[in-house]
Symmetry: C2
Subunit: 663 residues, 2 copies
């Protein structure tokens, strides 16, 4: 390309004098969608500016996936060339947004004309400049607008010499400005170079309270396998504590060959039940139900009864097979073969998991495999399920998840996928970017004030909350961390309050949790003794030692506190005692402000001075404010930043304050 | 697109299991080039990872603009899935870089095989898996590689049952690993989605020391107009102080109509010289020389003589015209016309600049205008100039600058463009992104410790130093800030040391600066009294009050201190006295560490405790180290973070310490 021809293209571009950049929110240059929930207003910001001193106009563009044309929302200049606009996400599904901006010739003219007139300058020629701007807009306009603009242009031209004052008044007319801008020359508009996506999820995607139980353990006799009917009877207990998602480990037929016995023994007894994650037997695979749990009809009854109590049933989707799974016979090409002709089992050398066959996503049959796995989600959705906890997604290809979640949510935007990937942070974030609605976190291993603060600050600083929704679990059937093993009941209280207030979504594996089960299979292990993964356990949910009441209380506070139902507005406040942690959550409009102080030491009373960052709460540094403990109903007046707390873990290890500005 | 057909494409993508993201440096998703200087090694980092636990391989790709194929440089895993590679920028011009990564099947196999063998497991079948990996690579390889790989594959297969130990040894061979990876199946490579650009500039683009003078004032008699010959005689003075760029305001014929008189008077005397920025008269325009300065030949002699002393002559390019400029007659279409038929003069309502006509970059004749303006740069480059200070670029279209700088640098990559845009920060950064080599800053208005720290921290945090090279000017012919007006000689020392140590590039407008000229045209104005913009000034450069020696000293320190020749590694250190500021600059390898402490109060002695952030200097919190004041040659032993300083502005307002770790 010669310089001469190049000039032509560049001169054309020069007409687009406005720059639109740094649009936010935006993830990885628009490669991935951000996430919101239905009813949210999406605030979009952008740097918008031009050369020189002329005025600029801008509009936020947005449309639903199924709309062909863009809707427009106003944008206004905040400061430092940063503009802001908002639009409402009324429906589930995917929306797109972008920005358009232009040189506002009329705006520049009317602004300058006023300055000239104010300085007492002659404006005859300048009024004619404006008349010309309006005349050009008239030439582009249609219908009544064209007529109106032409009349005003003529009038301005006429007034130029005769009546500058009236011309000036016309120049300041906001409706005229809007009309001229509507009929601007759009060929020199600057469109932001990318169209960004936002996935609009149901409310529970952001704010949810999970309870995990093994349905086979909903029984009073270890010899009697619990059933869906038993789970139905247990629903009022779960709902009563304030949970709104009930998650069950895989409910499918359990493999027999290579079955694991109690406490992960490789020499099971004849009546050992096996692990629910060893999916598939001659009775069926991922679309079948373990017959001791009940029938498909009973499962659907459970889903319906739960929904009546505001609870969604979440299924565990673990894409792996026991050696007995029908897929292994019917679709040998979906598995890797070893040179000796056997099927490749799962490994993490030198560990071998001969009871589990992973799928080979790179096989020649991958096309059918992907479609079949999608049909597993479709099957359970057709039977009323809309929440899935996905087991180990990080051991399957990223592209598979992007495809399958995208396809499912196209048809069922109400679906929620929880990613159970306990792996390196970037892999966890990638899975969230690709479409997982919520994600497990490292919370279970973050116990000190330093660890918790660092972890949440890092997520905040890296902007991951735009797409990564943390779901905090103080325990899972796989994770009984050292803190819980050694903390006693107080530690279970502490970790529950942390989970429920640090994150908008959290969950517990019960009844182990509320009954403070803390015995590991052996010293140094995070596995439970007599783990339900391998056997039926009978739990006495009426044990007076249960945390049931505290859980009920915390979940009620969550329900009544909008600040706790989101991840934005989280801030940590220094405390001079490292056994205490303090943090606040605040709604965007500051109408709800929660300040939590927790004693992390489960054995000793701890006191100290909290250094409240009052600015984060919109309070002055010398201002008094009331802190109302929602756990005890006590109210205190605090003043400025330094305030004293004293928490006894054997009574209650935390304050959950609602902060009220006084006067 | 149906789900079924979609699966095909997605399954193909699934083979690309590796993610490559967050490549740095990268500006605005690769829209703009980063900047480096010739000889630099460019460090490129990227997040690279895959699903599961398999090994990943990666290479940094790079090429010069004129190369068709990519060169490869190794990348190594740093931590947390962040990889790093480097390549050297040997030549001026533009380079591109990107990243490629892949699943390293051989690496996974050899790593796992070792773990299995170490655990005493049977590896017969596993060795055969590896033999298959090598055999497949052999199938893709050519020539000797194919033969060698086939032999090794056969050998491994043979050894599987016979000699696991030898097979294991082969599996750990690094050369074999490289060979297998060279012949990997590249169809499943992941290429980073963008190719990023780096502009490689001459060394002075990053590290330069500017001196501005009005050539007509290089005289001993206000009636005798200084000439290029006088400037030649002044060169040893300028070079002696350590400056390496000598910048002159416009050297073109000065317009006569609407000429401004002394102190910007609109009623000039007959012998008033006019402003050099009123470019163009009947004698010529942007390619002509004001005849009182000399001839084109004399100008070229000046350029050559300066170069002998290591000095580049910088010209001032101001794209605007005096009413007498030949363009106004010859290319009336390059200017805007007012409705009354007159040419539109420059305005910032209600201010009018009738002596200046701006170009209309959006005119019908814009194509020719752009080409003509480029030819102005070409003309002066042909006559030896390679540094341009561009006047008010923010009042011309962004697209023009991207085009003209890009075109000029394609042919002359040694060219340096300094942007004189004192406007809103995002506009200034945009001009730097579009191609300007260096930029003026707000430094002249940042005088307190808080202002300076905030300004530089902000630039650091926003990552602007990847493309924005600040050039600090404590004064210019347009800016005599209040601090200098009121500070006396001490303040001039302070501001010089700040400029020369905060930034790798700085400049002064002299001899006004070294002679501590601080008189404004009137109280509250930043204009000089008897400004050289409108008249010839005679300066006594031999005045004993001159800062000449200090400037010489500071510039020598700059020349000997690599840490001061770059913007990376700048850090501020708190001081308990807000009249003091402390900051350090450190080379990447910490071989050169400079710690500067400045007393910002030009009137009073100030003392206080510096809280040295010893980590930034690679020192332990309890370590002793020597600080060697390069200004006074005094040496002190400091210990840990808290250290005392006491600075008397009437002696020397600053320490410029070189920091030496002891033992």
């Amino acid at each position: 390309m010669t310089a001469a021809t190049n000039v032509v293209g560049e001169a054309a571009r020069a007409l687009r004098r406005v720059i639109v950049e740094s649009v936010s929110p935006e993830v990885d240059a628009g490669r991935f969608a951000i996430k919101r929930i239905v009813g949210d207003e999406l605030r979009v910001r952008a740097d918008i500016y031009a050369d020189g001193h002329d005025s600029v106009g801008a509009r936020l563009l947005w449309r639903r996936e199924d709309e062909r044309t863009w809707n427009e929302a106003p944008m206004r200049l905040d400061n430092n060339d940063r503009w802001e606009g908002r639009f409402k996400l009324e429906k589930l599904g995917r929306y797109f947004y972008s920005v358009v901006a232009w040189m506002d010739a009329f705006g520049s003219w009317s602004k300058d004309l006023k300055k000239r007139a104010d300085a007492g300058q002659d404006i005859v020629v300048d009024v004619r400049v404006g008349a010309e701007i309006v005349r050009e807009a008239a030439g582009r306009a249609r219908g009544d607008d064209a007529k109106q603009l032409a009349e005003i242009a003529a009038k301005l031209k006429d007034l130029a010499k005769k009546d500058g004052k009236t011309a000036l008044a016309i120049s300041q007319n906001a409706e005229l400005a809007l009309l001229v801008n509507t009929w601007r020359d759009r060929t020199s508009d600057t469109r932001y170079e990318r169209e960004l996506a936002v996935v609009v999820d149901p409310e529970k995607a952001r704010f949810s309270t999970w309870y995990e139980l093994f349905p086979r353990s909903v029984t009073t006799d270890p010899k009697r396998h619990g059933t869906f009917k038993d789970v139905i009877d247990r629903l009022p207990y779960v709902a009563g504590m304030g949970f709104d998602i009930l998650y069950m480990p895989p409910i499918h037929p359990i493999g027999r060959s290579e079955r694991k016995g109690k406490n992960n023994s490789t020499t099971p007894a004849a009546d050992d039940t096996g692990s629910p994650w060893a999916i598939g037997a001659k009775e069926g695979g991922h679309k079948a139900i373990h017959e001791q749990l009940g029938t498909l009809e009973e499962f659907q009854t459970l889903v319906a009864k739960a929904r009546e109590l505001g609870i969604d049933i979440a299924l565990d989707i673990a894409f792996q097979c026991a050696p007995d799974h029908p897929y292994v016979k019917e679709h040998r090409d979906w598995f890797r073969e070893r040179p000796d002709g056997t099927v490749q089992y799962a490994e993490n050398p030198p560990k071998k998991y001969q009871d589990i066959y992973p799928f080979n996503f790179e096989s020649a049959g991958a096309r059918e495999l992907w479609a079949e796995l999608k049909s597993v989600f479709d099957y359970w959705i057709a039977h009323g399920v809309r929440v899935f906890r996905v087991d180990n997604p990080h051991t399957k290809p990223f592209a598979f998840w992007e495809w399958v979640i995208g396809e499912v949510k196209k048809e069922h935007p109400e679906t929620i996928f929880l990613s159970e990937a306990f792996t390196r942070p970037k892999v966890m974030y990638q899975l969230a970017k690709l479409g997982f609605t919520q994600s497990y976190t490292y919370f279970a291993w973050k116990n000190s004030s330093f660890e918790l603060t660092e972890y949440f600050e890092e997520m905040k600083d890296f902007g991951v909350f735009e797409y990564f929704r943390p779901n905090l679990w103080p325990n899972t059937p796989d994770i009984l961390n050292e803190y819980l093993q050694k903390s006693g009941r107080a530690g279970f209280m502490t970790r529950l309050i942390l989970a429920g207030t640090l994150s908008a979504s959290y969950g517990i594996y019960g009844p182990a949790y509320e009954l403070c089960e803390g015995r590991p299979v052996r010293e140094g292990s995070e596995e439970y003794l007599d783990s339900e993964k391998y056997q039926i356990r009978v739990w006495d949910i009426h044990n007076p030692n249960s945390l049931r009441d505290l859980i009920t209380h915390v979940n009620r506070i969550r329900k009544n506190s909008p600040a706790l139902q989101q991840m934005l507005g989280l801030a940590f406040h220094p405390v001079d005692n490292s056994q205490l942690i303090a943090y606040s959550k605040v709604t965007e409009d500051r109408s709800n402000m929660i300040l939590v102080v927790v004693n992390l030491d489960p054995h000793n009373r701890q006191a100290g001075w909290v250094n409240v960052d009052v600015k984060k709460l919109g309070l002055g540094s010398e201002e008094s404010y009331q802190v109302h403990d929602l756990l005890t109903d006590a109210r205190y007046v605090w003043h400025g930043s330094r305030n004293f707390v004293d928490l006894n873990p054997s009574v209650l290890p935390a304050h959950i304050f609602q902060v009220h500005s006084i006067g």
